[in-house]
Symmetry: C2
Subunit: 276 residues, 2 copies
């Protein structure tokens, strides 16, 4: 048994979809969720910046004594997972590999990937999909307005539908049979995405597969917590607003939301200053 | 005469609308424009964070030897201008006061203010307007999706119009006669904003009034540059994309875009660490 918490990190609120799946699969675990709300979004930023921010977040969660690190952000997973695995002393799980696995199980040969500009530019999904099946047809599409729409709460109305139509009509015409929701915000827009793509297209949300992978990993190492499970939220900005959203979304009492200055933390540990 | 540059700073690309007006009014000046693209947007963030970021940007521009500092960002102007005036050794001009002045000249008594959630929450425009005319009717409306729409370049289409309609219909119904565009991104959406509000409503873009104020200030101190005027761009992320947008928007050769890590800079000057 191992009662230490599992660290989960995202640029903002999107990773709450992952935290919810983890809680449901692993109710006895304690989760430390870190949202970098002072610097959200990551998906429109450059590779070196994304890596620097991700490394700061990982080091902070390590300093809080986590036993596992879950990168609940596709942008950080796409660009920084190898770096984090190299730099962290605990096992690191991202959202990209589980998404790839789920897509491979679902597809009949034609996969679409949607994500932030940074995730799409990395072509990380395509790379991992082709490693297993080089006969797949793969289409990529970035959707930068989906994150602000989800953050504004406009997820199921005429504007959301028009934006989804503009981004996704090309993928529908090309006939993809499976669509990877390559950003943890996107499950919040599942309704309009499905309306545009049609019911026969499988939408892949990696949260469930990821939770399975983490559970299996804890099994193997006999590292489950004896319980009772808890959730502790930490953000770099706007704790009150984050607390309200989280309470509603997780449907639980999340207590006080802590605030941390990740830049200041990085300043106090010289290694965190590296710009890889 | 004073050949030192004028520092201009914004969270991202929005301040280019201000830089353009400054260039046109003061063609002999050299401008150092700093866009904090690693942490954009500011307008959805908390007050302490906005102040910390603004102070880091100001200190950086001071370290580059500017003679004036222009805060070309409504969010930072609304929350941090007093702090910057206290902390900086050079005169500081923001975009809020010129916008207030222009609105007072234009209005017949009913003013609308649109801006980011942080700017609207500050009620800085309302406060300054009421100081001069306490009989004014003032309406506030935040428009969080306008910034990502402008950054995506969707400024003049059906989606932009639907978003503008949703945010602004209430202000139109209330009958405001003057609308302050309280975010430097919003002039990019002038077309759809005007379409929703109607031609008779005056749209206030503070860039021109601000450029006038800076020119007057240089007159008074006999601090104009002998020329030739130049523009030097500095960002905290994505220099290439920023260079392309700037070249197109300013219609000039902007040369190489520099990159600076504002967090690292702040770390090396202990005073920059203060969280006011």
């Amino acid at each position: 048994m191992d009662s230490r918490p599992i660290g989960v990190f995202d640029s903002g609120i999107g990773g709450l979809t992952v935290l919810k799946a983890l809680r449901e699969r692993l109710p006895d675990e304690t989760f430390l969720y870190l949202g970098d709300t002072a610097r959200v979004p990551y998906g429109t930023k450059g590779v070196a910046t994304i890596r620097r921010f991700a490394l700061q977040a990982a080091r902070y969660l390590e300093s809080r004594g986590v036993k596992r690190l879950v990168v609940a952000c596709n942008t950080a997973s796409s660009h920084a997972i190898d770096l984090l695995r190299r730099e962290c002393s605990v096992p690191v799980e991202g959202v990209v590999e589980p998404g790839v696995q789920a897509a491979l199980e679902a597809t009949r040969g034609h996969v679409g990937v949607i994500g932030t500009p940074a995730t799409i530019a990395s072509d990380r999904y395509g790379e991992l999909l082709r490693q297993v099946r080089d006969d797949l047809r793969i289409e990529n599409q970035h959707c930068p307005l989906f994150v602000p729409l989800a953050e504004e709460g406009w997820t199921d109305d005429a504007i959301a539908l028009s934006v989804a139509e503009r981004y996704l009509a090309g993928l529908r015409r090309l006939g993809v049979d499976t669509l990877i929701l390559g950003c943890t915000h996107y499950p919040l827009l599942k309704g309009v995405i499905s309306q545009v793509m049609g019911d026969e297209v499988v939408l892949v949300d990696s949260a469930l597969v990821l939770a399975e992978a983490v559970a299996r990993d804890l099994d193997e190492d006999d590292a489950h917590s004896p319980g009772p499970g808890q959730v502790k939220l930490i953000v770099s900005d706007m704790p009150q607003r984050f607390g309200e959203i989280s309470r509603r979304f997780l449907d639980m009492d999340v207590g006080e939301v802590e605030v941390v200055d990740l830049e200041l933390q990085a300043g106090s540990t010289p290694a965190g200053k590296e710009n890889p």
